[in-house]
């Protein structure tokens, strides 16, 4: 693992000292061994803080949105999911490609900070190697089709309506409306989220199961054709709601209905729900 870490520090040091970027976003150690939160390094003497271990779980791309109009360029360490997140942000017009120096890292999967096993999102990862980068660290690997990642969805689909209804009602009863799933998601880059627009009345502020479900369903539909399957929403949810099952259900349907489409793999192909085809499946005749 530390071969990558040494390379990361070397590259970050160069970029900062040459002034190519005025900050680098990577990961650093937290207080405990299983914590490697994002790190923001602004001067080359501090690159020693950068680390690469099995707990670098948080996505780095969405931090580009914190101050979208800052002048300087950002050096961004990007694993497979971060690269797709960058494509996502570029395609949504929130970030300009020329403002980022992408340092791709061929990721081999991270560990869950509680179970210490391979994190769920990494088991299901199809594009471990970054799809867009300026320079690359590690051995590139071809994308892996992992159809079994839809297994949980397929099982749930077979269940009776009542059972599915109870399952999701119970899950969303746990929701504490902390909006961590929305704030970590690279596909959620609205300037003002529908959940915050109380005057329009999309969503009540009350914390109870019905409003939680409306928020969960609406957010799932909003990112249906743009979710890059980075799995962060499910990871950061403090009460463990299986949000990726909702997203995977939509992704599976969209791929079956409108042909193979992987969000964020390139920044040209428009998301399927924003286009149409004359010979789309006809179910409403």
């Amino acid at each position: 693992m530390n071969a990558i870490q040494i390379k990361m520090r070397e590259v970050a040091g160069q970029l900062l000292s040459l002034g190519e970027v005025d900050r680098v976003i990577g990961w650093e150690k937290g207080r405990f061994a299983h914590q490697s939160p994002p790190a923001f390094i602004t001067d080359e003497t501090k690159v020693e803080r950068l680390i690469w271990d099995e707990y670098c779980l948080t996505g780095t791309a969405k931090y580009l949105l914190d101050d979208p109009y800052r002048a300087g360029k950002t050096g961004l360490f990007a694993r497979g999911c971060d690269a797709r997140a960058i494509n996502r942000l570029i395609q949504d017009g929130q970030v300009k490609r020329e403002n980022i120096v992408i340092i791709g890292i061929c990721c081999t999967g991270m560990s869950d900070s509680v179970s210490r096993q391979m994190a769920a999102k990494c088991c299901d990862c199809t594009h471990p190697t970054p799809v867009v980068y300026d320079l690359m660290i590690g051995e590139p690997v071809k994308p892996v089709a992992k159809p079994e990642r839809f297994k949980a969805v397929a099982e749930l689909e077979q269940k009776a309506a009542q059972e599915k209804s109870e399952y999701w009602t119970r899950q969303f009863a746990k929701c504490i409306r902390c909006y961590a799933c929305r704030n970590i998601c690279p596909a959620c880059n609205c300037r003002e989220c529908f959940a915050d627009q109380y005057r329009v009345g999309w969503l009540g502020k009350q914390h109870h199961t019905a409003e939680n479900q409306v928020f969960g369903l609406t957010r799932a539909y909003h990112i249906a054709d743009r979710c890059i399957e980075c799995g962060e929403c499910a990871r950061v949810c403090p009460v463990g709601i299986p949000l990726m099952e909702l997203n995977r259900k939509l992704i599976k349907d969209i791929q079956q209905l409108f042909g193979d489409y992987h969000a964020g793999v390139d920044s040209e192909t428009a998301p399927p729900l924003g286009r149409y085809s004359l010979d789309d499946m006809e179910e409403f005749m």
Partner: protein, 144 residues
């Protein structure tokens, strides 16, 4: 409200109808004095592409027992491409609603032209019968 007590529960079905085709199709049912159950309430929208899937979630949350989205046949849209987007959006939304436990009969999307009065009447009548069989919709209901 008499309708709301569970004993003599009468289903309430919401229908979003596009102004140029299905709304005028619904009018034509009236002109021909054809009959269908009283449970349907029609909301007029300029085009089926105006119907936001969030309206459907909202209807079920407030207590709708069934929802219908009706638009022009693909190719006939007054705004040329509106219903192509409607088709994609509700192919996906229909499956999501089923996935969270709303019975498939409760949400229907249909292409109904301005001349297809019979098709509108039959669609609505069948929808109401299915919903009566299924019973009241509890799924996303607000805690009262």
């Amino acid at each position: 409200m008499a309708l709301m007590t569970e004993a003599n529960w009468e289903p309430k079905v919401l229908a979003f109808c596009c102004n140029w085709c299905s709304y005028s199709g619904a009018d034509l049912v009236g002109l021909n004095r054809m009959k269908y159950p009283e449970n349907v309430r029609i909301v007029r929208v300029p085009c089926s592409a105006r119907v936001n899937p969030q309206f459907i979630i909202r209807a079920f949350q407030r207590g709708a027992d069934g929802v219908l989205v009706a638009g022009c046949h693909p190719g006939d849209c007054h705004y040329s491409t509106g219903n192509y987007y409607t088709r994609r959006r509700f192919l996906v939304m229909k499956r999501l609603l089923e996935f969270i436990g709303i019975e498939s009969q409760r949400f229907q999307a249909r292409w109904i032209s301005g001349a297809e009065a019979v098709k509108f009447r039959d669609t609505v009548t069948k929808l109401c019968e299915d919903i009566k069989a299924l019973g009241p919709q509890r799924k996303l209901r607000d805690q009262k």
